[in-house]
Amino acid sequence: MEVKIVTDSTADIPLELVGELDIRIVPLYVNFQGKTYRDNVDISREELYSRMISSPILPTTSQPSPADFTRLYLELSCESREIVSIHLGSKLSGTYAAALAAGEMVKDKCHVEVVDSSLVSGALGLVVISAGRLARAGGSLEMVLANIKDVISRVRAYGLLESFKYVLHGGRLNVVGSLLGNVLNVKPFLKMRDGMVHLGGILRTRSQGLDKIFNLIKDTPALEDVIISHSTTPDEILKLKERFGSLVGNGRLYVSRLAPVLGVHGGPGTLVVAAQGGALLK
């Protein structure tokens, strides 16, 4: 009996892999003007971004409820007694806590191993894809968990935003002081560390930001897979595919769309590049 893999909508896994690896996704929620939408189910990216640009009130996000998880866990418990539920970092969202509570609630029916990845977007995606492949190949629960731990220690994620506006409103960026970045047109460069999103730099143009990310990926030791997740820049992604394609060698380069829930926090134009390589130095 195969181990079942569950994640949440922030994993930014390419659509075709979700089906191929039978990964089950629990959506987070986007709250907009008093209404609640399931991430990527009830609200499309296009609609979200166009409303974000035109509306004076910005959307907010919320985690799935434990009931959202129990429903899926119980459904899966008919197929397998072992479920691994991998989620975005607990410092960024209460999704992990909700999954944990749900796992506790269904423990008579099945065994749910809930993992706090401390990651988000494609970085979480790479962990889930790797776990999904192993589970598909018949890996045991122990093997899958060991694999998850290993991949978590080897992924990094970088982000490039068009402005500070949305990320400061969302309150998930770890910055201090008066930083608002609202006078000059500047582009925040972000990186993920210790489960938090940190400001890695401020750039004057998007092309400087893309160069910075490209160089960081290029310098990644033992580079394997890369996921590029974009929000509203399909033309740019074609160029990036070509540019980053030359770097991955034996690995794979995936392209995906950024989850609306993450788009709420990054804003239109958000780009996230996640890479799996040699272990990160602590």
Partner: protein, 547 residues
């Protein structure tokens, strides 16, 4: 004889719909007041969402009586309630609906009765009612309405007027009753929200709908002098306190549920417990460290729905951020010497902790710089002098300072901005000094000012009052107007490796001149990102950054 209006079902729905819109206009102000019971800045939002749910449900009323609309709205408030204040508001709605019963229309008397019942109901779901909150405001409003009716008044507008006035006074008094409000220098957020709703209803009935679209509810001023609102207030409130834990909310649907029984079971499990509802539907709100055990208990009672578990410590951090506070955890701070409000904004918005006012022809003293170094909330300070003449005084200040000080030899504003952009929050002091100093070379600076006398420098004949242009501090061009000097300077430069041109215009340049310069640049350099910033600096008509 005054005309007595009776409110029918449609008016009842409309007046609360208008009040909800009125509340919406005030949401961010109310959020910012929120310090009790947990300063997480969401009271306004929660009340608004609860009201919206009530208004949406009003359309499912079974007939066209006020009573059935109120009952539908009470149900909507219950299922849509969010947060502490939302749950209390849903109880207020329960009271209103109970008091109105099956009435087809209502007047002043019925309204007063509804407010009284609402005030009673609001207290019932709560374990330990605290005064100086929405509970007090609801009570004061109800008592005023009731005494108006006892004095023989039956006009709904008059009754409501006295309730709104009383609510306003009551909100103003909340800091007297609740110390945490006084310390934070605010009135109670939930009370303010309730006042805004009543005020919205009153304004609607008085026919001010159009006015309400252009105005905004006022935040009631406290009746006692309050300490000015400083960032340290909310921070100090929670110092050494235990973590807030999780704000846990859910609904239980089942049969023969007992709010009392559930309440007694949960009372020791956390703070701010509210259990409300009827035998079929119960809503629970609690602040707890162990949401899992509460959910597990609830699932044994029935089907649970609308579960929300929010980490309030995270919310509190977001709240602090919302307050624009400077959290005293800066390890390294940057200090910039800048003159001009717009330029100061540029530096502050990019994270500079303090500005020392000064620049060309108005150099700050060593003491000015030293004072700011000592004042800034960090052990290590990096100074951006942004002017050749201010580097020496910065060096003197460094010698006298008790902190570790580094100086980036920035000679122009654009160099200062470039250095600041290179600041890395993650890097240590020495790495930052190195990176920031290196960044100076990534930018070219043009400064344009007026000649104060006729002279001849470096082969240029300059007439008094002519515009003169400096490229990286060296005088290289002169012309009759600012635009002409800029054009000449840019023409002489190799711009192939640059992408952004930023113009900071000074106080002596007119808007017309600025627009003319911008248009000419946009036409000539279409591939560049061109930005215009009102720098507000004296002396230099134009400072231009090319990077």
């Amino acid at each position: 004889m005054k005309q007595v209006i009776l409110v029918d079902a449609d008016t009842f729905r409309e007046m609360f719909s208008a009040a909800t819109d009125w509340l919406e206009r005030s949401v961010s102000d109310i959020d910012a007041l929120n310090v009790f019971p947990v300063p997480d800045g969401d009271t306004g939002t929660n009340m608004l969402l609860t009201m919206r749910s009530a208004v949406e449900s009003s359309y499912s009323a079974t007939d066209s009586s006020v009573g059935s609309v109120a009952t539908a709205m009470a149900f909507g408030a219950l299922i849509g309630a969010r947060g502490n204040s939302g749950v209390i508001l849903s109880q207020i709605w329960r009271g209103i609906a109970e008091a109105i019963g099956k009435e087809k229309t209502i007047g002043g008397k019925e309204l007063a009765r509804a407010l009284v019942q609402a005030s009673v109901a609001a207290r019932q779901g709560i374990n330990n009612p605290v005064e100086g909150t929405i509970l007090t405001v609801a009570k004061d409003a109800a008592l005023a309405a009731q005494s108006q009716v006892e004095n023989g008044e039956s006009d709904i507008i008059s009754v409501l007027e006295s309730a709104v006035e009383a609510a306003q006074r009551s909100v103003a008094d909340t800091p007297k009753l609740l110390n945490v409000l006084k310390e934070a220098g605010v009135v109670d957020a939930g009370g303010q929200g309730f006042y805004v709703i009543l005020d919205g209803v009153l304004r609607y009935l008085k026919g001010e709908s159009e006015l309400m679209k252009v105005r905004k509810p006022q935040i009631v001023a406290a009746s006692i002098p309050l300490v000015p609102r400083v960032m340290t207030a909310p921070t100090s409130l929670v110092i050494d306190e235990k973590p807030f834990g999780y704000c846990t909310e859910f609904m239980i649907k089942g049969n023969n549920l007992s709010p009392e029984k559930i309440k007694s079971r949960l009372v020791k499990k956390g703070e701010s417990l509210i259990v409300v509802g009827n035998p079929d539907t119960i809503r629970v709100h609690i602040h707890t460290l162990s949401p899992g055990s509460i959910i597990s208990y609830a699932t044994s009672m029935g089907v649970i729905q609308s579960v929300s578990i929010r980490n309030m410590d995270e919310q509190f951090r977001d709240f602090l951020k919302m307050q624009q506070g400077r959290i005293p955890s800066l390890n390294i701070a940057t200090v910039a010497v800048v003159s001009g409000k717009g330029l100061a904004n540029v530096f502050t918005s990019l994270g500079t902790a303090e500005i020392v006012p000064g620049g060309q022809t108005m150099n700050p003293s060593v003491k000015d710089i030293l004072q700011v170094i000592e004042k800034v909330n960090a052990d290590k300070v990096i100074i951006l002098p942004n002017n050749e003449n201010i580097i020496p005084s910065s060096q003197q200040a460094k010698k006298l300072a008790s902190k570790e000080v580094g100086i980036i030899p920035t000679r122009t504003i654009p160099q200062g901005v470039a250095a600041l952009l290179a600041f890395d929050y993650e890097a240590d002091f020495d790495t930052n000094l190195e990176n920031m100093t290196e960044a100076i070379n990534s930018v070219r600076t043009i400064e344009i000012t007026r000649a104060i006398r006729s002279t001849r420098i470096d082969g240029l004949n300059i007439k008094k009052n002519q515009a003169i242009g400096l490229l990286d501090g060296k005088l290289v061009a002169s012309a009759d107007d600012v635009g002409g000097v800029l054009e000449e300077l840019l023409n002489g430069m190799d711009l192939s490796k640059y992408e952004v041109i930023t113009l900071y215009w000074g106080t002596d340049l007119s808007d017309n001149e600025v627009l003319k310069i911008r248009d000419s640049l946009k036409g000539k350099y279409p591939d560049f990102q061109i930005e215009m910033v009102n720098g507000g600096q004296p002396h230099y008509s134009l400072i231009v950054s090319i990077e």
